[in-house]
Protein backbone atom coordinates (compact mmCIF):
# COMPACT_ATOMS: atom_id res chain seq x y z
CA UNK A 1 0.00 0.00 0.00
CA UNK A 2 1.50 3.35 -1.02
CA UNK A 3 0.97 6.62 0.87
CA UNK A 4 -1.72 7.96 -1.48
CA UNK A 5 -3.68 4.74 -1.25
CA UNK A 6 -3.32 4.82 2.52
CA UNK A 7 -4.78 8.35 2.60
CA UNK A 8 -7.87 7.05 0.83
CA UNK A 9 -8.45 4.86 3.89
CA UNK A 10 -8.02 7.56 6.54
CA UNK A 11 -11.75 7.92 7.20
CA UNK A 12 -12.52 4.24 7.24
CA UNK A 13 -9.57 3.50 9.51
CA UNK A 14 -10.62 6.33 11.83
CA UNK A 15 -14.13 4.90 11.99
CA UNK A 16 -12.90 1.35 12.48
CA UNK A 17 -14.53 0.20 9.25
CA UNK A 18 -11.53 -1.37 7.52
CA UNK A 19 -11.50 -5.13 7.26
CA UNK A 20 -8.71 -6.98 9.04
CA UNK A 21 -6.35 -7.42 6.11
CA UNK A 22 -6.62 -3.79 4.97
CA UNK A 23 -6.28 -2.57 8.53
CA UNK A 24 -3.04 -4.47 8.98
CA UNK A 25 -1.65 -3.22 5.67
CA UNK A 26 -2.64 0.34 6.59
CA UNK A 27 -0.97 0.12 10.00
CA UNK A 28 2.20 -1.35 8.53
CA UNK A 29 2.40 1.57 6.10
CA UNK A 30 1.72 4.07 8.89
CA UNK A 31 4.53 2.66 11.02
CA UNK A 32 7.02 2.78 8.18
CA UNK A 33 6.17 6.29 6.96
CA UNK A 34 6.61 9.11 9.48
CA UNK A 35 5.14 11.76 7.10
CA UNK A 36 2.03 9.69 6.61
CA UNK A 37 1.81 9.11 10.34
CA UNK A 38 2.00 12.87 10.96
CA UNK A 39 -0.69 13.44 8.31
CA UNK A 40 -2.95 10.88 9.95
CA UNK A 41 -2.38 12.48 13.35
CA UNK A 42 -3.52 15.81 11.88
CA UNK A 43 -6.45 14.06 10.23
CA UNK A 44 -7.57 12.73 13.62
CA UNK A 45 -7.49 16.25 15.05
CA UNK A 46 -9.42 17.61 12.06
CA UNK A 47 -12.08 14.97 12.74
CA UNK A 48 -12.16 16.07 16.36
CA UNK A 49 -12.49 19.73 15.40
CA UNK A 50 -15.24 18.89 12.91
CA UNK A 51 -17.11 17.09 15.65
CA UNK A 52 -16.94 20.22 17.80
CA UNK A 53 -18.54 22.36 15.10
CA UNK A 54 -22.03 21.22 15.99
CA UNK A 55 -21.60 22.91 19.37
CA UNK A 56 -21.07 26.29 17.72
CA UNK A 57 -24.36 28.13 18.14
CA UNK A 58 -26.22 29.51 15.15
CA UNK A 59 -28.69 32.24 16.01
CA UNK A 60 -31.89 31.85 14.07
CA UNK A 61 -33.46 35.24 13.20
CA UNK A 62 -36.74 35.89 14.96
CA UNK A 63 -38.48 36.87 11.75
CA UNK A 64 -37.40 33.76 9.83
CA UNK A 65 -40.89 32.28 9.72
CA UNK A 66 -42.36 35.55 8.49
CA UNK A 67 -39.69 35.80 5.84
CA UNK A 68 -40.41 32.30 4.54
CA UNK A 69 -44.18 32.82 4.64
CA UNK A 70 -43.97 36.10 2.79
CA UNK A 71 -41.79 34.59 0.08
CA UNK A 72 -44.28 31.76 -0.37
CA UNK A 73 -47.12 34.28 -0.50
CA UNK A 74 -45.28 36.31 -3.13
CA UNK A 75 -44.72 33.21 -5.21
CA UNK A 76 -48.35 32.12 -4.95
CA UNK A 77 -49.44 35.59 -5.83
CA UNK A 78 -47.18 35.72 -8.89
CA UNK A 79 -48.49 32.34 -10.00
CA UNK A 80 -52.05 33.59 -9.71
CA UNK A 81 -51.25 36.76 -11.60
CA UNK A 82 -49.75 34.88 -14.49
CA UNK A 83 -52.64 32.43 -14.65
CA UNK A 84 -55.04 32.94 -17.62
CA UNK A 85 -57.75 35.38 -16.67
CA UNK A 86 -55.71 36.41 -13.70
CA UNK A 87 -53.15 39.06 -14.44
CA UNK A 88 -54.59 40.21 -17.77
CA UNK A 89 -58.05 40.71 -16.39
CA UNK A 90 -56.53 42.36 -13.40
CA UNK A 91 -54.37 44.62 -15.54
CA UNK A 92 -57.31 45.70 -17.70
CA UNK A 93 -59.08 46.93 -14.62
CA UNK A 94 -56.01 48.69 -13.39
CA UNK A 95 -56.58 52.09 -11.95
CA UNK A 96 -54.15 54.77 -11.13
CA UNK A 97 -55.07 55.37 -7.54
CA UNK A 98 -52.19 57.44 -6.45
CA UNK A 99 -49.94 59.91 -8.13
CA UNK A 100 -47.53 62.13 -6.36
CA UNK A 101 -44.63 64.11 -7.54
CA UNK A 102 -42.30 66.77 -6.33
CA UNK A 103 -40.74 69.45 -8.48
CA UNK A 104 -37.24 68.26 -7.76
CA UNK A 105 -37.55 64.53 -7.13
CA UNK A 106 -40.33 62.57 -8.66
CA UNK A 107 -41.62 59.15 -7.90
CA UNK A 108 -44.80 57.94 -9.50
CA UNK A 109 -46.70 55.38 -7.56
CA UNK A 110 -49.24 53.34 -9.44
CA UNK A 111 -51.65 51.34 -7.38
CA UNK A 112 -53.39 48.75 -9.43
CA UNK A 113 -56.75 47.49 -8.39
CA UNK A 114 -58.08 44.02 -8.91
CA UNK A 115 -58.02 40.59 -7.45
CA UNK A 116 -54.78 39.72 -5.83
CA UNK A 117 -56.32 36.83 -4.03
CA UNK A 118 -53.75 34.52 -2.53
CA UNK A 119 -55.85 33.53 0.43
CA UNK A 120 -56.77 29.97 1.09
CA UNK A 121 -58.38 28.20 4.00
CA UNK A 122 -56.69 28.91 7.34
CA UNK A 123 -54.30 31.38 5.81
CA UNK A 124 -53.76 35.05 6.50
CA UNK A 125 -51.33 36.40 3.91
CA UNK A 126 -48.27 38.32 4.95
CA UNK A 127 -46.99 41.05 2.66
CA UNK A 128 -43.68 40.13 1.05
CA UNK A 129 -40.92 42.71 1.28
CA UNK A 130 -40.77 45.55 -1.22
CA UNK A 131 -37.99 45.41 -3.78
CA UNK A 132 -35.96 47.77 -5.91
CA UNK A 133 -35.57 46.40 -9.44
CA UNK A 134 -33.95 47.47 -12.69
CA UNK A 135 -36.64 47.26 -15.35
CA UNK A 136 -34.69 47.73 -18.60
CA UNK A 137 -32.94 50.81 -17.32
CA UNK A 138 -35.78 52.18 -15.22
CA UNK A 139 -35.34 51.74 -11.49
CA UNK A 140 -38.61 50.70 -9.94
CA UNK A 141 -40.07 50.04 -6.53
CA UNK A 142 -42.23 46.92 -6.46
CA UNK A 143 -44.51 45.99 -3.61
CA UNK A 144 -47.28 43.41 -3.62
CA UNK A 145 -49.67 43.67 -0.72
CA UNK A 146 -51.79 40.53 -1.08
CA UNK A 147 -55.52 40.52 -0.53
CA UNK A 148 -56.34 39.94 3.10
CA UNK A 149 -53.01 41.34 4.30
CA UNK A 150 -53.13 44.37 6.59
CA UNK A 151 -52.87 47.77 4.92
CA UNK A 152 -49.45 49.36 4.78
CA UNK A 153 -48.31 52.95 4.78
CA UNK A 154 -45.83 53.92 2.12
CA UNK A 155 -43.62 56.93 2.68
CA UNK A 156 -40.95 58.09 0.22
CA UNK A 157 -38.52 60.77 1.36
CA UNK A 158 -35.75 62.55 -0.45
CA UNK A 159 -32.23 62.98 0.88
CA UNK A 160 -33.19 66.04 2.92
CA UNK A 161 -35.89 64.06 4.71
CA UNK A 162 -38.70 65.83 2.85
CA UNK A 163 -41.71 63.61 2.29
CA UNK A 164 -42.37 63.17 -1.41
CA UNK A 165 -45.13 60.63 -1.08
CA UNK A 166 -47.23 59.30 1.73
CA UNK A 167 -50.06 56.93 1.08
CA UNK A 168 -51.90 53.90 2.40
CA UNK A 169 -51.78 50.65 0.46
CA UNK A 170 -54.68 48.32 1.24
CA UNK A 171 -54.44 44.55 0.94
CA UNK A 172 -54.81 43.34 -2.65
CA UNK A 173 -53.26 46.50 -4.12
CA UNK A 174 -49.85 45.98 -5.67
CA UNK A 175 -47.67 49.02 -6.14
CA UNK A 176 -45.15 49.63 -8.86
CA UNK A 177 -43.32 52.87 -9.17
CA UNK A 178 -40.48 54.21 -11.28
CA UNK A 179 -38.03 56.10 -9.09
CA UNK A 180 -36.74 59.08 -11.01
CA UNK A 181 -34.64 62.07 -10.17
CA UNK A 182 -34.62 65.38 -12.05
CA UNK A 183 -32.12 67.08 -9.80
CA UNK A 184 -28.63 67.87 -11.13
CA UNK A 185 -27.11 65.54 -8.53
CA UNK A 186 -28.04 62.05 -7.28
CA UNK A 187 -30.64 61.75 -4.54
CA UNK A 188 -30.83 59.27 -1.71
CA UNK A 189 -34.42 58.10 -1.42
CA UNK A 190 -35.71 56.52 1.76
CA UNK A 191 -38.68 54.27 1.18
CA UNK A 192 -40.63 53.06 4.18
CA UNK A 193 -43.36 50.46 3.84
CA UNK A 194 -44.69 49.38 7.19
CA UNK A 195 -41.61 48.46 9.15
CA UNK A 196 -39.45 47.90 6.10
CA UNK A 197 -37.01 50.61 5.11
CA UNK A 198 -35.21 50.77 1.79
CA UNK A 199 -32.45 53.18 0.95
CA UNK A 200 -31.50 53.80 -2.64
CA UNK A 201 -29.39 56.43 -4.39
CA UNK A 202 -30.99 57.45 -7.68
CA UNK A 203 -28.69 59.07 -10.24
CA UNK A 204 -29.33 62.37 -11.98
CA UNK A 205 -29.21 62.78 -15.73
CA UNK A 206 -25.64 64.00 -15.68
CA UNK A 207 -22.44 62.50 -14.32
CA UNK A 208 -20.89 63.99 -11.19
CA UNK A 209 -17.17 63.71 -11.91
CA UNK A 210 -15.64 63.14 -8.48
CA UNK A 211 -12.58 60.93 -8.17
CA UNK A 212 -12.50 60.56 -4.39
CA UNK A 213 -14.38 61.57 -1.29
CA UNK A 214 -15.22 60.85 2.29
CA UNK A 215 -18.34 60.85 4.39
CA UNK A 216 -20.88 58.20 5.33
CA UNK A 217 -21.78 54.97 3.51
CA UNK A 218 -24.86 56.87 2.30
CA UNK A 219 -22.53 59.49 0.83
CA UNK A 220 -20.52 56.70 -0.79
CA UNK A 221 -23.71 55.38 -2.41
CA UNK A 222 -24.49 58.86 -3.71
CA UNK A 223 -20.94 59.26 -4.99
CA UNK A 224 -21.05 55.95 -6.88
CA UNK A 225 -24.48 56.86 -8.21
CA UNK A 226 -23.23 60.25 -9.39
CA UNK A 227 -19.97 59.11 -10.86
CA UNK A 228 -21.29 56.06 -12.73
CA UNK A 229 -24.95 57.08 -13.24
CA UNK A 230 -26.33 53.96 -11.58
CA UNK A 231 -28.78 53.37 -8.76
CA UNK A 232 -27.16 52.11 -5.57
CA UNK A 233 -29.20 50.36 -2.94
CA UNK A 234 -27.74 50.55 0.57
CA UNK A 235 -28.19 47.43 2.67
CA UNK A 236 -26.00 47.98 5.70
CA UNK A 237 -27.37 48.31 9.23
CA UNK A 238 -25.47 51.53 9.93
CA UNK A 239 -25.44 53.61 6.78
CA UNK A 240 -24.03 56.65 8.63
CA UNK A 241 -20.77 54.81 9.30
CA UNK A 242 -17.75 56.77 8.07
CA UNK A 243 -16.05 55.85 4.83
CA UNK A 244 -13.55 57.27 2.38
CA UNK A 245 -13.30 56.23 -1.26
CA UNK A 246 -11.53 56.56 -4.56
CA UNK A 247 -12.86 55.93 -8.06
CA UNK A 248 -10.85 54.58 -10.97
CA UNK A 249 -11.89 54.78 -14.61
CA UNK A 250 -15.44 54.15 -15.67
CA UNK A 251 -16.06 50.90 -13.83
CA UNK A 252 -17.93 51.18 -10.54
CA UNK A 253 -16.53 47.79 -9.54
CA UNK A 254 -13.04 49.31 -9.47
CA UNK A 255 -14.03 51.55 -6.55
CA UNK A 256 -11.84 51.34 -3.45
CA UNK A 257 -13.15 52.39 -0.09
CA UNK A 258 -12.25 52.07 3.54
CA UNK A 259 -14.45 52.10 6.60
CA UNK A 260 -13.80 51.80 10.30
CA UNK A 261 -16.02 48.78 10.60
CA UNK A 262 -16.63 45.71 8.44
CA UNK A 263 -15.58 45.56 4.81
CA UNK A 264 -18.26 46.96 2.55
CA UNK A 265 -19.07 44.96 -0.57
CA UNK A 266 -20.37 46.31 -3.86
CA UNK A 267 -22.47 43.93 -5.92
CA UNK A 268 -23.53 44.59 -9.47
CA UNK A 269 -27.18 43.51 -9.61
CA UNK A 270 -27.64 44.69 -13.18
CA UNK A 271 -26.26 47.30 -15.58
CA UNK A 272 -28.07 50.09 -13.74
CA UNK A 273 -28.45 48.79 -10.21
CA UNK A 274 -25.75 48.10 -7.62
CA UNK A 275 -25.93 47.17 -3.98
CA UNK A 276 -23.71 48.20 -1.07
CA UNK A 277 -23.78 45.60 1.67
CA UNK A 278 -21.68 43.60 4.12
Amino acid sequence: MNANKAREFFSEYYEGKLDRALKQAFERRLESDSDLKADYRQFEIVMLRLGQLKDMPVNVPEDLHEKISSRIDRQLYAAKRSAPGGFLAWWKSAALAGLACAAIVAAVIAIRGGSGDTSQANFVPVAPPARIVDDKGTIRLQFDNPKGAPEKTLVVRDGAGETIIQMTIPGGKPVESPLTNSRPEPVLMTIEIGEQRLLVAIPSRSIVPASSGEGSIEALALAISGRFRVAVQVEVPNSSEKASWEFYGTDAMATKASTNGRSVLLTKISENLYKLHY
Partner: protein, 198 residues
Protein backbone atom coordinates in the same frame (compact mmCIF):
# COMPACT_ATOMS: atom_id res chain seq x y z
CA UNK B 1 -35.91 18.78 19.05
CA UNK B 2 -36.85 15.59 17.22
CA UNK B 3 -39.73 15.13 14.88
CA UNK B 4 -41.49 11.87 14.34
CA UNK B 5 -41.76 10.60 10.80
CA UNK B 6 -45.45 9.94 11.27
CA UNK B 7 -46.05 13.55 12.34
CA UNK B 8 -44.44 14.78 9.14
CA UNK B 9 -46.40 12.24 7.12
CA UNK B 10 -49.70 13.45 8.59
CA UNK B 11 -48.85 17.08 7.88
CA UNK B 12 -47.70 16.26 4.36
CA UNK B 13 -50.93 14.39 3.66
CA UNK B 14 -52.91 17.40 4.86
CA UNK B 15 -50.79 19.71 2.69
CA UNK B 16 -51.45 17.48 -0.30
CA UNK B 17 -55.18 17.92 0.37
CA UNK B 18 -54.74 21.69 0.09
CA UNK B 19 -54.43 22.60 3.76
CA UNK B 20 -52.15 25.63 3.79
CA UNK B 21 -52.10 25.73 7.60
CA UNK B 22 -50.57 22.26 7.63
CA UNK B 23 -47.78 23.52 5.40
CA UNK B 24 -47.24 26.39 7.79
CA UNK B 25 -46.87 23.84 10.60
CA UNK B 26 -44.44 21.82 8.52
CA UNK B 27 -42.33 24.93 7.92
CA UNK B 28 -42.35 25.79 11.61
CA UNK B 29 -41.18 22.29 12.53
CA UNK B 30 -38.20 22.33 10.19
CA UNK B 31 -37.24 25.96 9.52
CA UNK B 32 -34.76 26.23 12.38
CA UNK B 33 -32.84 23.13 11.36
CA UNK B 34 -32.96 24.23 7.73
CA UNK B 35 -31.63 27.66 8.61
CA UNK B 36 -28.78 26.27 10.71
CA UNK B 37 -27.71 24.03 7.83
CA UNK B 38 -27.91 26.88 5.32
CA UNK B 39 -26.05 29.22 7.65
CA UNK B 40 -23.20 26.76 8.10
CA UNK B 41 -22.88 26.50 4.34
CA UNK B 42 -22.87 30.24 3.71
CA UNK B 43 -21.80 31.86 6.98
CA UNK B 44 -24.21 34.64 6.02
CA UNK B 45 -27.58 35.19 7.71
CA UNK B 46 -29.27 36.89 4.77
CA UNK B 47 -28.17 34.24 2.30
CA UNK B 48 -29.15 31.47 4.68
CA UNK B 49 -32.64 32.92 5.08
CA UNK B 50 -32.97 33.26 1.30
CA UNK B 51 -31.91 29.64 0.79
CA UNK B 52 -34.42 28.42 3.36
CA UNK B 53 -37.21 30.50 1.85
CA UNK B 54 -36.38 29.26 -1.66
CA UNK B 55 -36.23 25.69 -0.44
CA UNK B 56 -39.65 25.85 1.20
CA UNK B 57 -41.14 27.37 -1.94
CA UNK B 58 -39.74 24.41 -3.93
CA UNK B 59 -41.03 22.03 -1.29
CA UNK B 60 -44.46 23.67 -1.44
CA UNK B 61 -44.54 23.34 -5.21
CA UNK B 62 -43.33 19.74 -5.24
CA UNK B 63 -45.19 18.44 -2.22
CA UNK B 64 -47.97 16.94 -4.33
CA UNK B 65 -45.41 14.54 -5.77
CA UNK B 66 -43.76 13.62 -2.48
CA UNK B 67 -44.49 9.98 -1.82
CA UNK B 68 -42.97 9.56 1.66
CA UNK B 69 -40.58 6.90 0.41
CA UNK B 70 -37.84 8.87 2.10
CA UNK B 71 -37.93 10.95 5.26
CA UNK B 72 -39.07 14.51 4.77
CA UNK B 73 -35.84 15.81 6.33
CA UNK B 74 -33.69 13.89 3.83
CA UNK B 75 -35.71 15.40 1.01
CA UNK B 76 -35.46 18.83 2.62
CA UNK B 77 -31.66 18.58 2.79
CA UNK B 78 -31.57 17.70 -0.88
CA UNK B 79 -33.64 20.76 -1.78
CA UNK B 80 -31.68 23.02 0.56
CA UNK B 81 -28.42 21.84 -0.99
CA UNK B 82 -29.75 22.46 -4.49
CA UNK B 83 -30.92 25.94 -3.50
CA UNK B 84 -27.49 26.64 -2.04
CA UNK B 85 -25.72 25.42 -5.19
CA UNK B 86 -28.06 27.50 -7.36
CA UNK B 87 -27.37 30.58 -5.27
CA UNK B 88 -23.63 30.09 -5.62
CA UNK B 89 -23.98 29.66 -9.36
CA UNK B 90 -26.01 32.87 -9.56
CA UNK B 91 -23.51 34.72 -7.40
CA UNK B 92 -20.60 33.66 -9.53
CA UNK B 93 -22.26 35.34 -12.48
CA UNK B 94 -22.91 38.49 -10.41
CA UNK B 95 -19.69 40.39 -9.72
CA UNK B 96 -19.05 41.51 -6.16
CA UNK B 97 -15.97 43.32 -4.92
CA UNK B 98 -14.86 44.26 -1.47
CA UNK B 99 -14.41 48.01 -1.48
CA UNK B 100 -12.37 47.78 1.68
CA UNK B 101 -9.39 46.47 -0.22
CA UNK B 102 -6.60 48.92 -0.70
CA UNK B 103 -7.15 52.26 0.97
CA UNK B 104 -5.31 52.61 4.25
CA UNK B 105 -6.63 54.84 6.97
CA UNK B 106 -6.02 55.35 10.67
CA UNK B 107 -9.38 53.73 11.18
CA UNK B 108 -8.18 50.48 9.67
CA UNK B 109 -5.12 50.46 11.88
CA UNK B 110 -7.32 50.97 14.88
CA UNK B 111 -9.50 48.07 13.82
CA UNK B 112 -6.52 45.78 13.63
CA UNK B 113 -5.39 46.80 17.10
CA UNK B 114 -8.80 45.99 18.50
CA UNK B 115 -8.83 42.62 16.78
CA UNK B 116 -5.39 41.74 18.14
CA UNK B 117 -6.48 42.59 21.65
CA UNK B 118 -9.51 40.33 21.50
CA UNK B 119 -7.41 37.33 20.49
CA UNK B 120 -5.86 37.02 23.92
CA UNK B 121 -4.74 33.92 25.79
CA UNK B 122 -8.22 33.35 27.10
CA UNK B 123 -9.24 29.74 26.66
CA UNK B 124 -12.68 30.52 25.38
CA UNK B 125 -11.24 32.91 22.81
CA UNK B 126 -8.79 30.25 21.65
CA UNK B 127 -11.56 27.71 21.31
CA UNK B 128 -13.62 30.18 19.37
CA UNK B 129 -10.66 31.05 17.15
CA UNK B 130 -10.08 27.35 16.42
CA UNK B 131 -13.73 26.80 15.57
CA UNK B 132 -13.69 29.84 13.34
CA UNK B 133 -10.53 28.64 11.59
CA UNK B 134 -12.23 25.31 10.83
CA UNK B 135 -15.42 27.05 9.74
CA UNK B 136 -13.46 29.42 7.48
CA UNK B 137 -11.52 26.53 5.97
CA UNK B 138 -14.78 24.70 5.25
CA UNK B 139 -15.99 27.77 3.37
CA UNK B 140 -12.96 27.45 1.07
CA UNK B 141 -13.88 23.93 0.04
CA UNK B 142 -15.87 23.22 -3.12
CA UNK B 143 -19.61 23.55 -2.49
CA UNK B 144 -20.40 19.85 -2.66
CA UNK B 145 -17.65 18.90 -0.20
CA UNK B 146 -18.80 21.66 2.11
CA UNK B 147 -22.38 20.40 2.06
CA UNK B 148 -21.28 16.84 2.79
CA UNK B 149 -19.07 17.83 5.71
CA UNK B 150 -21.82 19.91 7.29
CA UNK B 151 -24.40 17.18 6.76
CA UNK B 152 -22.21 14.53 8.37
CA UNK B 153 -20.39 16.36 11.13
CA UNK B 154 -22.89 19.02 12.12
CA UNK B 155 -26.31 17.78 11.05
CA UNK B 156 -25.31 14.26 12.07
CA UNK B 157 -26.74 12.61 8.96
CA UNK B 158 -25.50 9.10 8.25
CA UNK B 159 -23.64 8.22 5.06
CA UNK B 160 -26.82 6.55 3.84
CA UNK B 161 -28.92 9.66 4.47
CA UNK B 162 -26.37 11.85 2.70
CA UNK B 163 -26.36 9.46 -0.25
CA UNK B 164 -30.14 9.72 -0.41
CA UNK B 165 -30.14 13.48 0.00
CA UNK B 166 -27.58 14.09 -2.71
CA UNK B 167 -28.73 11.23 -4.88
CA UNK B 168 -25.26 9.69 -4.95
CA UNK B 169 -24.08 6.10 -4.48
CA UNK B 170 -22.99 5.31 -0.93
CA UNK B 171 -19.41 4.57 -1.99
CA UNK B 172 -19.16 7.94 -3.74
CA UNK B 173 -20.35 9.73 -0.61
CA UNK B 174 -17.75 7.95 1.51
CA UNK B 175 -14.87 8.61 -0.86
CA UNK B 176 -15.87 12.25 -1.41
CA UNK B 177 -16.21 12.84 2.30
CA UNK B 178 -12.76 11.37 2.87
CA UNK B 179 -11.40 13.68 0.16
CA UNK B 180 -13.14 16.65 1.79
CA UNK B 181 -11.55 15.84 5.14
CA UNK B 182 -8.13 15.46 3.53
CA UNK B 183 -8.57 18.82 1.77
CA UNK B 184 -9.56 20.38 5.06
CA UNK B 185 -6.47 18.95 6.74
CA UNK B 186 -4.32 20.47 4.01
CA UNK B 187 -6.02 23.85 4.33
CA UNK B 188 -5.49 23.82 8.07
CA UNK B 189 -1.99 22.35 8.00
CA UNK B 190 -0.32 25.75 8.29
CA UNK B 191 -2.08 26.50 11.54
CA UNK B 192 -0.01 24.72 14.17
CA UNK B 193 -2.16 25.93 17.04
CA UNK B 194 -5.12 24.22 15.53
CA UNK B 195 -3.41 20.89 15.85
CA UNK B 196 -2.63 21.29 19.51
CA UNK B 197 -5.06 19.32 21.61
CA UNK B 198 -6.93 21.00 24.47
Amino acid sequence: MTHGLSDDAVLIRRCQQGDRAAFDDLVRRHEKRAYQYAYRLTSNGEEAADIVADAFIRIYNALQNFRSQSAFTTWMYRILTNCYLDLRKKEKSRPTVSLDASLQSPGNDLERQVEDESAGPDEEAEKHAREKAVQDAILKLPEYQRAMLVMYHVEMLSYEQIAESLDLPLGTVKSRLNRARLSLRELLAQDEELFQLD
